[in-house]
């Protein structure tokens, strides 16, 4: 048996094994989409119930859901905000999803975003006199590289000592927050004339261009959108078309089989973590250069944690993550409008997001609550 033959065989088997429940069987595609969709609907329903429990009137609840739709897709501004919020969620989510595929639970996207974003910020104002075409990519690469290195620490610890990456990435998160506080007070980073921790401003040559500013200066959508789309394609290619991605997936599915197949597990773990961290670092860098324009304490704003939810909701598939990221971005932009129009607390959005995850994580629960969506499979198929 030649080597290529052997490999393609194994590849097919591995893909089948990985994707067996969602893709291979009849109607499984429906399930792949129906569970998240039903989860979102149920979460909105429960959100409404919670609002009712806190004595919000039904009219206000209706108004708040209309506001949510309006604030997420109802205008150019709304769409711009939704996409702006989506970019870092998808980038960090791709990293987490990729690590999931390799059997690693990277809880450290937040910390990787922080160090990547901070490094990008430093590179963005300390490298002067460069043209934008060199400066901007350089800044993004710095963010990417530092994020990768930071995540690789956890990968290295896992590979060499067996320290579980969940623990080490959580701890690395905490360390990153304090590192940020510390560095923001250093004279070469801190903004002149300020005593609070805040960095100097990103130089114009390192700013990600705003895509719609010619139309209206308040539209924040920036060129990170293209970086995000490129990352989706790249991660898809990496996971499903490359040798390395195959090694990731086989290690995630069955580490022992991977080892017998000659995959070096230690290296695979470190590489998977590094790529996950690179994507999170890139998310931090695009936030700094595209949206915030400076680093401040808490600039990561929990995006790295929300991205875990995005990766789960997207079932760790690049396209799924893109869709889930869009949904979460829409919730964030819409939540703002909800508060403006109906005076409903923005905290409710966090509750709805959490509910979505609970329902996605428990597909059986969704099927129990909404049996018709899943039971009428054969009838629907006949119709279509």
């Amino acid at each position: 048996m030649s080597q290529t033959e052997h490999k393609s065989d194994t590849t097919r088997d591995a893909v089948r094994a990985l994707m067996a429940p969602p893709i291979d069987r009849d109607g499984a595609w429906r399930e792949l989409f129906m569970v998240p969709l039903a989860a979102v609907m149920l979460a909105l329903l429960f959100g409404a119930l919670i609002m009712m429990a806190t004595s919000v009137s039904p009219a206000t609840i209706l108004q708040s859901f209309i506001a949510m739709a309006r604030g997420s897709v109802g205008s150019l501004h709304a769409i711009s905000e939704t996409l702006t919020a989506t970019i870092p969620l998808v980038l960090a989510g791709l990293g987490i999803g990729l690590a999931f595929r390799a059997g690693l639970f990277n809880i450290g996207a937040e910390g990787q975003m922080v160090v990547g974003g901070l490094a990008a910020a430093v590179a963005s104002f300390s490298l002067t006199g460069l043209p934008s075409i060199i400066h901007l990519p350089l800044v993004l690469m710095v963010g990417l590289a530092v994020g990768a290195l930071y995540a690789a620490i956890a990968g290295f610890l896992r590979a060499t000592t067996g320290a579980h990456e969940v623990i080490s990435t959580i701890m690395l998160n905490l360390i990153s927050f304090r590192l940020l506080d510390y560095f923001l007070r250093q004279p070469f980073i801190q903004k002149e004339g300020r005593s609070d921790p805040i960095s100097k401003a990103v130089l114009e040559s390192a700013e990600l261009p705003r895509l719609l500013s010619f139309f209206d200066g308040n539209l924040r959508l920036h060129a990170g959108l293209f970086i995000m789309l490129a990352a989706v394609l790249l991660v898809y290619w990496l996971l499903y078309r490359s040798k390395l991605g195959f090694a990731f997936r086989i290690s995630g599915e069955n580490p022992q089989a991977a080892r017998y197949a000659g995959i070096r597990s230690g290296l695979t773990i470190i590489l998977a973590m590094a790529i996950a961290g690179a994507l999170a670092g890139l998310a931090g860098a695009t936030q700094i250069t595209g949206v915030l324009g400076r680093a401040s304490p808490g600039f990561s704003a929990g995006i790295g944690f929300d991205a875990i939810a995005v990766a789960l909701l997207g079932r760790s598939h690049p396209v799924g993550i893109l869709l889930a990221g869009l949904l979460f971005g829409a919730l964030e932009a819409g939540g703002r409008q909800m508060q403006v129009d109906a005076g409903v607390s923005i905290d409710l959005i966090s509750i709805i997001q959490a509910l979505i995850i609970i329902f996605v994580a428990a597909p059986l629960l969704v099927k129990r609550i909404l049996p018709p969506l899943f039971r009428t499979k054969s009838v629907n198929e006949d119709a279509s």
Binding site: Q63, S195, A301, G302, V340, D341
Partner: protein, 341 residues
């Protein structure tokens, strides 16, 4: 599926109509809070009170958006600009950069910001700033006069000017009491000369408020002034447990006797920062077409800052001390007492 789309579209249209209808009827003032939230019993709530007062007095519409993190400032401001607000008010020093960006991108939109003074001023922004050190000076003097242990404490949320102004005033008020009365009351948590002190690093954590007050108490402080918005509510909870003989709290921003729904009884007094008054003033000027960018300063002389009535502690404070506080107030207003110590 189609039905849903139609329902959604018509819903959106209805919402648009509703929005435009409200915009046509009334002046709308919109506020972006800082991360403490609208119901922090302190900083943000006091500023929001100004909008509520204007609502009651002039029948305006009021809306707000809470910032959950610093990254929310810009989108929140943009979102309010999108919603046809006549006046957008940002609450907090940390929003200075974001407000400047928005103001310059939207020269026709009126803005006001609490706690930030632009230099040079921006034509469409009114900066509201406060000489809180003057009022805190009174509180420091009072605290020095009331302390049994001879140690008082203070801590802040972040080392930024609007916070340290309170701490400076408190520090110098205590120092003034020491110099006038020959006492030796110590201030823990802030050194006005070196500009270093105790900071929680956030304006959110009630646990930090409790822990910091506990530390100060362990070092002997029996009166503590937390300058960190809702964080102080945690300190008040500790004071309530220890009893006010062991620890009293000095509130900040609003009269926390009333704003703190759970432990209103532990506040010796509150250093009032009249954000409600200045916010209302800016709204009025915008309604009357007299809006002009620049600065609005609240101090002891114009009543923009002050200390609150003593409420439950009124009988516990010696009449002589009360009279001295009034004398210090007069001295600060006429300039015979230097607020810088």
């Amino acid at each position: 599926m189609f039905m849903k789309k139609i329902a959604l579209t018509s819903g959106i249209t209805a919402a648009f109509m509703m929005a435009s209808a409200t915009a046509a009827t009334a002046f709308t003032a919109c506020q972006v809070t800082d991360v403490g939230g609208i119901d922090d019993g302190s900083f943000n709530e006091t500023a929001w009170q100004g909008v509520l007062d204007a609502k009651a007095a002039y029948g305006i519409e009021g809306r707000y958006l809470e910032s959950q993190s610093e990254t929310d400032y810009q989108p929140n401001l943009n979102s309010l600009i999108e919603n046809k607000c006549d006046l957008v008010i940002s609450v907090g020093f940390l929003m200075g950069d974001a407000t400047k960006t928005s103001a310059e991108a939207n020269p026709d939109q009126k803005f006001s910001i609490v706690d930030f003074a632009y230099n040079p001023t921006i034509p469409n922004v009114v900066g509201q700033i406060y000489a809180t050190n003057e009022a805190a000076f009174l509180a420091g003097y009072l605290a020095a006069g009331m302390s049994q242990s001879g140690v008082v404490g203070v801590f802040g949320g972040m080392n930024i000017p609007p916070v340290t102004a309170f701490m400076d005033g408190f520090y110098y008020g205590v120092a003034y009491h020491n110099s006038q009365k020959g006492t030796n009351v110590q201030v823990l948590g802030w050194n006005a000369a070196s500009k270093e002190g105790l900071f929680t690093g956030n304006f959110e954590s009630l646990d930090d408020g409790r822990a910091f007050a506990q530390n100060l108490y362990d070092e002997g402080a029996d009166i503590v002034m937390p300058v960190a918005g809702p964080v102080g509510l945690g300190s008040a909870a500790l004071a309530a447990e220890l009893g006010t003989d062991a620890m009293k709290i000095i509130g900040v921003d609003g009269d926390q006797r009333f704003l703190d729904k759970n432990n209103g009884d532990v506040y010796l007094t509150s250093v009032l920062k009249g954000m409600d008054k200045t916010v209302m003033q800016v709204i009025k000027s915008a309604m009357d077409g007299k809006f002009e960018g620049g600065l609005l300063i609240g101090n002891l002389a114009n009543g923009g800052v002050d200390i609150s009535p003593y409420h439950g502690f009124d009988s516990a404070i010696p009449a002589a001390l009360k009279a001295e506080v009034e004398k210090v107030r007069a001295g600060l207003i006429d300039g015979s007492i230097n607020v810088g110590g």
